[in-house]
């Protein structure tokens, strides 16, 4: 009885040790992975920072202004070029009322229509 118990305990001990070893190994690997990822992230961040610095150097208004002056026809905007939304002219009236069938479409469907089948050009009164 006692011997069986002892054997069981020894087996359990070995199993536990193996399991612990496995966990330990796994965690070491994971930790290494984490460290590597951290390093990668750090490198990526550094690269992003360098690229952003580069970008803002290229995006510098002085540089853009020189380029624009050399290659574009554009000139600085004048206050008279702005207008209010109310200043827009009215939208021209539709030649065809919105809910009438498409006149060209109906022409295509009836290749030789009598003139009366064309909906009257609806000018709003």
């Amino acid at each position: 009885m006692m011997r069986l118990l002892n054997i069981c305990v020894i087996v359990a001990l070995v199993a536990a040790a193996a399991y612990v070893y496995k966990i330990k190994f796994e965690s070491t690997r994971k930790a290494e992975q984490v460290a590597k990822l951290r390093l990668d992230i750090q490198r990526e961040r550094d690269t992003i920072a360098a690229l952003r610095a580069e970008w803002s150097k290229l995006d510098n208004p002085l540089r853009i202004q020189d380029l624009a002056r050399r290659h574009l026809e554009l000139r600085p905007i004048d206050s008279r070029q702005f207008d209010q939304l109310q200043g827009l002219p009215e939208r021209p009236p539709d030649l065809v009322p919105p809910d009438s069938p498409d006149p060209i479409g109906s022409l295509l469907e009836h290749p030789d229509p009598p003139t009366s089948s064309i909906p009257p050009a609806g000018r709003p009164k």
């Binding site: 750090q42 150097k57 905007i77």
Partner: protein, 588 residues
């Protein structure tokens, strides 16, 4: 663990004292207890030992669990081993454009005690890095030290080439290097750092002062994960202002030019330019005294701009109104001094005419009417007599006359005899037109609510309305006519002050300024333009007063920045008499 020694005594049943041979009895009872079975005693002791050891192991196990459960706080530091040069937060403008950022660059170092052949190493290194001084390198490599910098900040390509040399005892350390992608554009504002990435001027120094230096000391600020700092400055506006100022400076052959755009409602500094400026990537340029920041480190007699303060004082006191008249028939004699007008009218002028004709005599009479003490108190209230402190470490104390007499009041009334930092004058004028609130200027972002909390009311709102009217009137009829950019309803005041050369006011060396508010009926921004010693040109008909150079420059600036600032152009607005003056509600 020490508990095992002490517990057996106390945890056992207390022995009863025995009368016979008390010493022996006490010893026995202490050791075994009275009438105790030895076997039971041993079992009890064994049990106790088991409990003690079990406790010990439980503690160890518990600690293990705690260690396992805790996040590993110290691994982050191992990510960047040997990183020299501390990280700084990025500095962004109000739209998120980068003004300053950190880039990691390799630096080259040597461990001289590990170098085998000094001559060979020197030769190879100087071949890759031609700008290294071979004598110095040889000396450093030949020394007995264990560490020596060879070159800070090398390019990745140079690093690869040095790697390929295969020399022992030579290595690289990544360092944070501060770069300013916009170069000169924001130089004075941002400041710069030294080789060890410590801020030594401008906002950079302010960053160090406000806690970053302590972080560095603690070794915590090595990572990039610091919150970026957002400033109030707008890079596009800054560029437009600088571009126009440089054009103006070149056109009028001025020694220097400076410009400032602030939000009158919040005190935020949207743009600040002082040319000549320097490239913060090359901080050595900053040592040139000609490149100082004229807006905060210089003090100047602001000339007629100060008349705005004088008139506001009179209007606010109620002793004068817009139609009060002042005698400007003849030059004002004061002791041996004589106050002239630049364009004498030779008659009585109303208060608004004093402003639009920029009459020195009129302003002097107004100040005299108010008296010396009231004048001094008002300027004190407007913050013109004390050093103005902002986030920038550089600031200048105003030059206030020590014995302030009537003559001082007379000259200060039209802006001579009191030298202030231009930023200070801008703060004062902002308070005149924003409804009467004195708001300290800031380089950081600030909302209107925050500004309200900081603001101090210095003049009444009606006075502020009248000042808006006067400023607008000056752009319609007065000296600032050339600044009336169509659509933006600009108001402004010009200032031409003669510079003191060798103790005397010089006639041909002037400092011109132009203060504009836009839009004048409900100001949102104030623009200050300063030109130092502009020259008269044929186009300006030989004049060198502000109206001929600072004002057109200001007009060009306003035309360019107003769309960027989101000011909607309005046309066909009535003149100031109807739009502003008629809407003033008199309070008494």
């Amino acid at each position: 663990m020490t508990a095992t020694d002490a517990t057996p005594v106390t945890s056992l049943p207390a022995p009863a004292p025995v009368r016979t041979d008390w010493r022996r009895t006490i010893l026995r009872s202490l050791l075994y207890g009275r009438d105790v079975d030895r076997a039971a005693k041993t079992r009890a002791r064994l049990g106790l030992a088991i409990v003690a050891f079990a406790l010990g192991y439980a503690v160890i196990a518990g600690r293990l669990v705690m260690f396992a459960a805790q996040p590993e706080g110290h691994t982050g530091r191992h990510v960047t081993p040997g990183l020299v040069g501390t990280a700084r937060p990025d500095i962004l403008d109000r739209n998120g454009e980068i003004l300053a950022t950190d880039v990691r660059v390799p630096s080259l170092f040597a461990e001289p005690n590990r170098i085998i052949d000094v001559d060979e190493a020197t030769e190879l290194l100087t071949a890759v890095l031609p700008d290294l001084d071979s004598m110095e390198v040889r000396e450093r490599l030949g020394s007995k030290r264990r560490f020596a910098w060879l070159k800070r900040d090398i390019t990745p390509r140079q690093r690869a080439e040095i790697y390929r040399l295969g020399q022992p005892g030579i290595g690289f350390l990544p360092e944070n290097k501060r770069v300013y992608p916009n170069g000169n554009e924001v130089s004075h504002l941002i400041g710069h750092v030294n080789i060890d990435n410590q801020g030594i001027a401008g906002i950079e120094k302010w960053l160090d002062r406000s806690g970053l230096a302590d972080l560095h000391m603690a070794g915590l600020a090595t990572d990039r994960l610091q919150e970026p700092v957002r400033l109030a400055v707008d890079l596009r506006v800054q560029h437009a202002l600088r571009d126009e100022l440089i054009k103006g400076r070149d056109k009028f052959k001025a020694k220097a030019a400076a410009g400032l755009i602030v939000s009158v409602r919040t005190g935020e500094i949207i743009a600040m330019v002082s040319v000549p400026d320097y490239d913060p990537n090359n901080p050595r340029e900053a040592l040139d005294p000609n490149r100082i920041n004229r807006l905060t480190t210089g003090v100047y007699e602001m000339g007629s701009t100060f008349k705005a303060l004088t008139l506001a004082m009179a209007l606010d006191s109620g002793k004068a109104n817009l139609n009060s008249s002042f005698d400007a028939r003849a030059p004002l004699h004061f002791g041996k001094f004589e106050i002239h007008d630049a364009h004498p009218e030779g008659r009585f002028l109303s208060l608004s005419e004093v402003f639009t004709y920029s009459s020195n005599i009129g302003a002097a009479r107004i100040a005299l009417m108010m008296g010396v003490e009231a004048h001094k108190a008002f300027l004190k209230k407007m913050g013109q007599l004390d050093r103005l402190r902002t986030e920038l470490p550089e600031s200048a104390e105003p030059l206030v006359p020590r014995n302030w007499g009537e003559l001082n009041t007379v000259t200060i009334a039209f802006g001579h005899g009191l030298a202030v930092a231009p930023l200070q004058a801008v703060m004062g004028v902002s308070a005149l037109v924003n409804g009467g609130y004195l708001i300290p200027p800031t380089f950081l972002r600030r909302s209107e609510e925050q500004a309200k909390a900081l603001a101090v009311r210095v003049i009444r709102p009606e006075t502020s309305d009248k000042m808006r009217y006067l400023m607008r009137l000056n752009a319609e009829k007065g000296t600032a006519r050339q600044a009336d950019v169509p659509g933006y309803y600009v108001g402004g005041k010009t200032g031409t002050s003669e510079k003191v050369i060798g103790g005397h006011y010089s006639k041909d060396r002037v400092l011109n300024s132009f203060t504009a508010i836009l839009p004048a009926d409900d100001p949102r921004y104030q623009v200050l333009i300063m030109l130092d010693e502009p020259q008269a040109l044929p186009e300006t008909h030989g004049f060198r007063t502000s109206g001929w150079n600072a004002v057109p420059t200001g007009a060009a600036v306003i035309g360019r920045v107003a769309p960027l600032l989101g000011i909607q152009p309005r046309f066909d607005l009535p003149p100031a008499d109807q739009l502003i003056l008629a809407s003033i509600v008199p309070s008494r």
